[in-house]
């Protein structure tokens, strides 16, 4: 195997510069090699185990390596950018309501008019996308005879969804002390077919938007503290 960081030279080996000698001791190299092997295994376990589908071995290996994956921020990264398919995008619209449920204001995130530079816009975009992912939980609990882990997973997903909604709603409540309630609406923006766009359909055609109310949060006195 050639040393790829060397400058390519003529094919005559006699004219090639000798590569720098290995300077680390055998014992130190063995120690570093062991660490490298563990890290390389973690590099593969992370994306192999998430997101679904993933195999039993990958899930069990992830459970074993979870502390390391967490500590090095390697857990849960599938690197599946725009995979399996580029899908619709999601925005969050929030409505500020008074005591009589009358709308007194609203806002949306992400919002290109408010969020600049683009990286800040993207941060807000990722919040709306991750809220969509966590809110995408079936309405009905699994059947009673389902395995215990299915029930546990369902409860975890419900808990996460509710915690996310609460956290975001409380934050909005602090920003808008005039509101008595906050209604959170998930807006899904579908992507039109190329043929429709070629025939003049705009990307922001109202027919491409679909709204689902995620919940209504009643503002608590401590939210204004």
């Amino acid at each position: 195997m050639s040393i790829m960081n060397d400058r390519p030279t003529t094919p005559d080996p006699s004219t090639q510069a000798a590569p720098p000698k290995i300077t680390w001791s055998v014992g130190f190299r063995q120690f570093v090699s062991l660490l490298l092997l563990l890290h390389l295994a973690a590099l593969f376990v992370g994306p192999c185990s998430s997101p679904p589908p993933s195999s039993v071995w990958a899930q069990q290996a992830e459970g074993f390596m979870a502390p390391y994956l967490h500590a090095t921020f390697l857990r849960g990264h599938g690197y599946r950018f725009f995979a399996p398919n580029p899908g619709p995008s999601h925005l969050v619209r929030y409505e500020l309501l008074d005591e009589n449920d009358q709308e007194i204001g609203e806002g949306t995130f992400p919002n290109l008019d408010e969020h600049w530079p683009r990286l800040l816009y993207h941060r807000h975009f990722m919040i709306s996308e991750s809220m969509y992912n966590t809110s995408n939980v079936p309405d009905q609990a699994p059947p009673e005879d389902a395995p215990p882990f299915v029930h546990a997973d369902f409860q975890t997903a419900i808990g996460l969804r509710n915690a996310y909604l609460d956290s975001i709603a409380k934050y909005i409540a602090r920003q808008h002390p005039e509101a008595a309630k906050i209604r959170i609406v998930m807006v899904q923006h579908a992507i039109p077919l190329p043929i429709d766009v070629a025939n003049g359909r705009p990307l922001n055609d109202p027919g491409l938007y679909e709204e689902v109310v995620l919940g209504v949060y009643t503002v608590q006195p401590e939210d204004h503290e």
């Binding site: 720098p20 290995i22 994306p47 398919n85 800040l120 609460d166």
Partner: protein
């Protein structure tokens, strides 16, 4: 015969492993990755400043309970920010210190210390705001993690400059084993990223149909450049889709041979700049290009450096001659 084969296999793997990981290399590539990667990490954290308490504060978007649930209650998803996030003033103070450390790291000043601190800072922010992250943060942490292993301050750094000024007659080392380990890890991590990015797409029918690129460019929440004219050219969309998929899938194999490496790295430029310009993900596109920089051999960087030095030196010589 089998014993001889196994012995040859063992010695071949052992020697190849040693050469791959432990041959000292010129730290020029790693030094450049530090400058660009450090700049990206610094910029990322500067942008957090716009709404620091909204993203990182106790009363921000991510309550501590939510963050704990998102990390599945793991205490290994560590961050030092919860120690300060209840006090906006303290959070700002800690944030300003972090920005100073990241600037020092980018410049290569006290790199041994600031590189480790840069990793701690980058992971802490990522773990504190888990709902606002995307690929950029994964690449940022990856670069910070490998840049702290050593060697990052041994080229193109204030550390090196100050050392040369202080000890002008001392012969400083020109190669570093730690730099090689760091560069190899970045290279392998990039291969893992592209491998899973490519294989993940094989699960989707739009990548097989050749329409996936349309789904990306016609997403108006991402769009920063109107590419909807592509709707009139379905064949072009299909070619773009499947060429980019083939590139991602083959990256981990074709980036290693000397003959194909320049082609693979050159193709990364339009692909990631396309993502940056058309889809508004400038930071992510540039971060991926910084990761690809790890595959540029140090001698290329030294030749470019020498060219720049010559160009800068010429006017000075001409001025001296004129004087």
């Amino acid at each position: 015969m089998i014993t001889a084969y196994l012995r040859e296999l063992y010695t071949g793997v052992r020697d190849g492993w040693n050469r791959f990981w432990f041959t000292p290399t010129d730290p020029a590539t790693l030094g450049l990755v530090r400058i660009f990667g450090g700049s990206m990490i610094l910029y990322t954290h500067l942008v957090w400043s716009i709404d620091l308490n909204g993203f990182m504060g106790e009363n921000g978007r991510f309550s501590n309970e939510l963050v704990s649930r998102m990390h599945q209650g793991s205490s290994f998803a560590w961050s030092y920010l919860p120690l300060f996030d209840g006090n906006p003033g303290m959070l700002w103070l800690v944030h300003i210190v972090a920005l100073i450390v990241l600037l020092m790291f980018t410049l290569g000043w006290y790199t041994r210390v600031t590189s480790v601190l840069a990793f701690i800072i980058t992971v802490s922010y990522a773990h504190r705001a888990p709902g606002a992250l995307f690929g950029l943060d994964q690449v940022n942490v990856m670069l910070a993690m490998y840049l702290m292993l050593g060697g990052a301050g041994e080229a193109f750094s204030l550390d090196r400059l100050l050392l040369k000024r202080r000890f002008p007659n001392r012969k400083l080392p020109t190669t570093s084993t730690a730099a090689n380990v760091s560069i190899r890890l970045i290279q392998l991590h990039m291969c893992v990223i592209y491998l899973f990015a490519g294989t993940g797409k094989l699960l989707g029918e739009t990548w097989w149909e050749g329409t996936a690129i349309w789904g990306a460019v016609a997403n108006s929440e991402y769009q920063s450049l109107d590419m909807t004219w592509l709707a009139h050219y379905p064949l072009f969309i299909a070619v773009l889709t499947q060429v980019s998929l083939a590139w991602e899938l083959s990256y981990c194999a074709l980036v290693w041979p000397r003959l194909t490496r320049p082609l693979v790295i050159t193709m990364a430029i339009p692909l990631h700049l396309g993502i940056a310009v058309c889809m508004g993900m400038i930071t992510f596109g540039l971060a991926m290009l910084i990761g690809n920089l790890a595959f540029v051999s140090p001698w290329v960087i030294r030749e470019v450096e020498a060219g720049i030095r010559n160009r800068l030196a010429k006017p000075t010589e001409e001025q001296a001659a004129a004087a």
